[in-house]
């Protein structure tokens, strides 16, 4: 199969970028999107050009390194998969494929399609952890965890921190990511102890970093490769409100980075 690729090229954070057109031909429908980009890059290297920079690591949908905004959708047209799990059979022969980096004030472009997502790490550093070592695997039933909480926490913990939610959101809000982390920890006994502080710190950090406000368009949920639900955002709003309204000693005013 043959494709026309229109790819965002930008040499560095400081230089201006633009969309550049490329042709790839003889592509098998069964190869992955990244294998197709690998072929393009080999082609560019052979011609003495600069290969296209893009983020990838595990190529099996578990690390959260890959990104790409493909034809107007983060991680491309298939629901519930990362770009590395996308195959060329999802595109028709001769299709024009637009590939752009993720856009957010908090995700500056480093080069071509690579953006700096360390803002998400900074949010985790603000409170997305359990401060004490909670030890090895406890004996079954020594720490009671309701099955429903275990399931919900596990679903939230599936977030791989890719940032597609931010890329899809019309406001570039990071609420789905932050709420997944908040929920995952606060639903379990080891994380509950710090829940009141955690939610306030993580939200404060999120705001500082320039992410937008949630306007409940739910675009994030549709594009999330791990199908994280927006009910997590409601849970975070709930936790945040009760922390602000009812906690006495643990009120957090902004701490700076």
């Amino acid at each position: 199969m043959n494709y026309t690729l229109k790819i965002w090229r930008q040499k560095s954070a400081k230089e201006r970028g633009e969309m550049v057109s490329y042709q790839v031909s003889g592509i098998s429908a069964e190869i992955s999107f990244f294998e197709m980009l690998d072929i393009l890059n080999q082609q560019l290297i052979a011609e003495g050009g600069d290969p296209v920079a893009f983020d990838h690591d595990c190529r099996e949908g578990i690390c959260g390194t890959c990104s790409l905004y493909i034809n107007g959708r983060p991680h491309g047209p298939v629901r519930g998969v990362t770009t590395c799990q996308l195959h060329m059979r999802s595109f028709s022969d001769g299709e024009v494929i637009h590939i752009e980096p993720w856009r957010s004030k908090a995700f500056p472009v480093v080069r071509d399609l690579v953006v700096d997502r360390s803002a998400l790490d900074l949010i985790i550093q603000a409170g997305g952890y359990v401060s004490v070592n909670s030890g090895g695997i406890p004996d079954a039933n020594t720490i009671p965890v309701p099955k429903h909480h275990a399931d919900t926490a596990f679903d939230a913990a599936a977030c791989i921190g890719c940032g597609a939610c931010v890329a899809a959101c019309p406001n570039a809000a990071a609420m789905l990511f932050v709420s997944a982390k908040v929920s995952h920890l606060s639903l379990l006994p080891q994380g509950k102890a710090e829940a009141v502080k955690r939610v306030q710190k993580m939200v404060a950090r999120m705001d500082e970093l320039g992410f937008g406000n949630c306007s409940n368009t739910y675009a994030c949920e549709v594009e999330c490769p791990k199908l994280i639900s927006v009910t997590n955002i409601a849970r975070m709003n709930r936790e945040f409100l009760s922390a602000k309204l009812f906690s006495e000693k643990e009120k957090i005013v902004r701490d700076s980075i």
Partner: protein
Amino acid sequence: MILFFSIALKTYCMNKLLQFSSITGKVIMALAGVFLVTFLGVHLGINLLLLSDDGGRSFSVAAEFMSSNPLIRIFEIVLFAGFLVHIVLGLVVSRQNRASRPVGYVVANRTETSFLSKYMLHSGIVVLIFLALHFSDYYFVKIGLVAPPEGIGPHDFYAMTLHLFSSTWYALFYMFCFVLLGIHLNHAIQSAFQTMGWNHTRYMGAVKVAGTIYSIAISLGFMVIPLYFILFR
């Protein structure tokens, strides 16, 4: 000295105001919005009296009650504050949202999600324009800032309404505004629930359906009145 203190106080307030977190801002906005949503129901109830066949008597009685009852006078101030808070926060939040993506995409977003939810600011601004018009048509006339149309008393809201809807263009614009208000509300009601943290798989479906029914009822309810005046008067 006084000047110095007032400037210091002002900067302090501004900093405080601009410092509330994204969630706090949205919650305040949602609370004000929900308050406005209930107000709309009351307002529609009174307006529908315009349709009763008594030459505007029941409508005038209700309007007179609303503008003289002291409890409702206090409520009016709360209502204005609600509008102000909602509108100011709506503009602030929308501006921050725009700023959070300084470089946009070449290809517009194609995520399959509620399409109109992205146009809350736009529908809100149409409602705001309507509010300005509505104030100059009624409220400013009532408090004597604007002269009523010739031959109509400043408290004769029934005659004012007849006068306004005698212009087909005015009636059409009025209906257009309420279509947009309906669009605003359709997203807004379930959105307010989500913002407050009241999203639960057990009832969110019902909230969405009820919100849509309410917004259609409000929108159609207000639109029926000019339609009636155009068609039957």
